[in-house]
Amino acid sequence: MDKAILLESVSKKYDVGSSSLKVIEDLTFDVNKNEFVCVVGPSGCGKTTLLRIVAGLEPPSSGRVLVFGRPPDPKIQRFGVIFQEDSLLPWRTVLGNVEFGLEIQNYQEAERERVAKTFLELVGLQGFENYYPHQISGGMKKRVAIARALAIDPDLILMDEPFADLDAQTRSLMQRELLKIWSKLNKTVLFITHNVEEAVFLAQRVVVLTKRPSRVKQIIDIDLPYPRARLSPPFISYRERILTAFHEELEGI
């Protein structure tokens, strides 16, 4: 099976009292192994729900979800999920946080520390091992979360608007570093964002979702070499194309 993620007419609805809310409807797309795919869509369109379904945190109401050929299950497969909100354990140090996933995956203690330190170095946080989360900046917290996700050697990296809360400069720095890490580690990334420029900067393919209930509006290959210049004409033309599709959806809200 060479598809990392396969979604086939996936629908998700929640029961709200007697009525039901359709969040995702008949959503179909796939992600190849080692591919970097961004999903963009208007807020409230079910992007986070989509990520939760791919991560195996909740089942779809109907349709088929396969991650490396099987229904996703974090107890069997390894997912590196990075959340928008702060997801560090405040009572653990930076090192302890990176070790968390390794602990759950039953790594030996010595091995845990060695691996955690390697990945802290990868995200540029050597020397901060013994800091507590409240002592470091928002960008550094994101780096810790990324190190924690990568440390377990995930089959799939799922990112839910991870940089949305950062300031513009930190965000663009984190984007560049993420690309560096991605090219070094050869991982499949599904990255969710509502920021079109971010999607064009990062992704090989951008999936544009419609407003709720979400389906695929358009899939656009970004045929630009890395690193990408945000002010280059082809970059801007990709951005405009996606923004146009995006705005058609926004108007309906």
Partner: protein, 266 residues
């Protein structure tokens, strides 16, 4: 020494000054009241001090010294506290994690919570003997604050952290031991501190009955029967001071344990 630490020192000295001033004022008022009332049942500070020294050095009418009374009471309260925490924390975790179970037992727990330990005395006399009775009556005081704070701590646990753990493949045991428990620990410690305080305040009720002539509650009741109020006040003050010391001890532990949290407040 820089300006900031000078200011800190100054404000510390100031609060120390105010604290000692209010203690002095308190003793003056006590002295004035005693000399105004001239009652054998309202001793002045000096006779309480004398009684203090007698109880510490010589002992009471049965020969037990104040240290012995205090130790015996501490043993009973700490045992009750141990049983109270060993039941309150796990049951609190369970009820916090299972809201349906909590809703089911709330109608039982809530009214029982408001029954004071004194009201349990007759029943405990009939049903329990010796240490069991002490432990039970202290437990009544300890259990509920520990239980309620533990439940509150579990509820405060961030859902994002639980989901994060799930994405790493954590099972329920992992989520309880590695997320919910450490996240609730500040509230649990707070419940333990309050529970220990309440348990300690139950000591008089717990020692109200029973054959053994030792314990701070016993001491108070013994001398109340003799109408020697100065020694009664000695017992009261000792209970107050020991309670205060225990509270500060746990506060000190909390500060050391929750460095990750205390500094957020600062």
């Amino acid at each position: 020494m820089n300006v900031v630490s000078m200011r800190k020192l100054y404000s510390r000295l100031q609060s120390l000054l105010f604290a000692s001033a209010s203690v002095i004022v308190f003793f003056i008022l006590w002295e004035l009241a005693a000399s105004y009332l001239q009652s054998p049942y309202f001793p002045d500070p000096y006779s309480v001090l004398k009684a203090f020294i007698t109880i510490i050095t010589v002992g009471d009418i049965d020969g037990y010294t104040l240290a012995w009374h205090t130790l015996m009471s501490l043993e009973r309260v700490l045992l009750g506290f141990a049983v109270g925490s060993a039941t309150g924390v796990p049951i609190g975790l369970l009820l916090g994690i299972k809201p349906t179970l909590k809703n089911a037992v709330t109608p039982i727990i809530e009214p029982i919570r408001f029954i004071p330990p004194i009201a349990w005395i007759p029943l405990s006399i009939v049903l329990l003997i010796g240490m069991y009775r002490y432990v039970f009556l202290i437990w009544v005081g300890v259990f509920f604050p520990v239980l309620l704070d533990t439940i509150a701590g579990v509820k405060r646990t961030s859902i994002t952290l639980i989901q994060m753990a799930r994405t790493f493949g954590a099972d329920n045991k992992n989520i309880i031991t590695k997320i919910i428990f450490p996240s609730s620990l500040p509230e649990i410690m707070n419940g333990l501190r309050v529970g220990l305080g309440v348990g300690w305040m139950c000591i008089v009720a717990a020692e109200m009955i029973g054959g053994e002539p030792v314990g701070l509650g016993r001491l108070i009741l013994k001398y109340a029967n003799l109408l020697q109020i100065d020694t009664v006040i000695v017992g009261m003050i000792t209970i107050g001071l020991v309670g205060l010391a225990m509270n500060y001890f746990i506060l000190f532990l909390e500060k050391r344990m929750f460095r990750w949290r205390v500094e957020i407040r600062a």
